[in-house]
Symmetry: C3
Subunit: 139 residues, 3 copies
């Protein structure tokens, strides 16, 4: 059993789902473990992680619109707005989605299903630099 860890930076340009499957899979594959466990941790309170459909782009835009609808930019609804009207909705959308994913590795590959992609979910309007911590345990 051995373990390896790293920090990975992701630049975001706009609100929404940014696919990071290739970057994650490439890093995990490079560690060359046969059986193991990969943990991805998002070090922010206004961005999160999501595993979702990687084929139809309409799924992503529908999901983005859904989260805008259930946690809208509505100044009358929130006390906190230090960083503008997208500040508090960003915290709420982060609370409703994971900041951490742990994915098994079997037969040398992450066990992602055929239609599963890994996404960073940026909840702020302006570009941000986001940091993920990756930790892999395995043999």
């Amino acid at each position: 059993m051995r373990q390896v860890a790293t920090l990975m930076s992701i630049g975001t340009e706009r609100q929404g789902l940014i696919e990071i499957t290739d970057r994650i899979v490439n890093w995990a594959d490079a560690q060359a473990v046969k059986v193991g466990l990969l943990t991805i941790f998002c070090r922010h309170t206004s961005a999160s992680l999501l595993i979702q459909e990687n084929a139809a782009a309409a799924v992503r835009s529908d999901l983005e619109r859904y989260f805008v609808r259930i946690a809208p930019e509505d100044p009358s609804a929130y006390t906190h707005d230090d960083e503008g009207p997208d500040d508090m909705p960003a915290h709420i959308r982060t609370a409703l989605t994971p900041v951490q994913l742990t994915i098994p590795i079997i037969d040398g590959r992450l066990v992602l299903g055929t239609w599963q992609g890994i996404y960073l979910f940026e909840h702020r309007r302006r570009p941000h630099s986001r940091t993920l911590a990756l930790q892999l345990l395995g043999a």
Copy 2:
């Protein structure tokens, strides 16, 4: 420290919460570790996992109705409907609930609380065959 992993198939008949506690606990117990960590990963984008009340059945039916209410089948709300009106609500309900659970093992047992059961949450109407990946680390 050693690790063991497997794939487990679950057949679903209808939308809703399907208890899988016994199957998971039996598999974990058979690995006979004293301290460890079990990870369950659902390889789908229209089914998820949930730890919830295992006693009153009304909790499950109330939960099922709640998710129908907050992510309804409403063709006017979504662009994506490749597989019918339950397609996009299934993706949304999956985004709002975990696809991965990691549960410690202490004193040879999963640390589930007295009232905690493990459920597969099927979000599609028609029967499906779902695959879970299980990975256990321990000693």
Copy 3:
């Protein structure tokens, strides 16, 4: 590689977010691992865990109000009310937030971001004693 596990009790006085960052970090630090993985598991179906903003208190009160709004105490909406009107909303709020968090340790420290605190989210009105299971793997 070694592992250590413990149970931690948290007393809650009221509904809402209770910061437990210091207790978790102190326990993890005391295990003195350089690289590893900490898992926190909440053994209840009416309390959960959340990583959120640790600076502005208004973020927490806005979050608490948000969950009251999307899963309100509304006897007409639920069948299950064995323990009163806050019973079923507590199960729903638990389903919408994590009961388990796994956080990497790199360079001897949990990789929490600058603004990330760890909270126990109590969803019942009356005081409760909650138990968390902590498991740490590392070297």
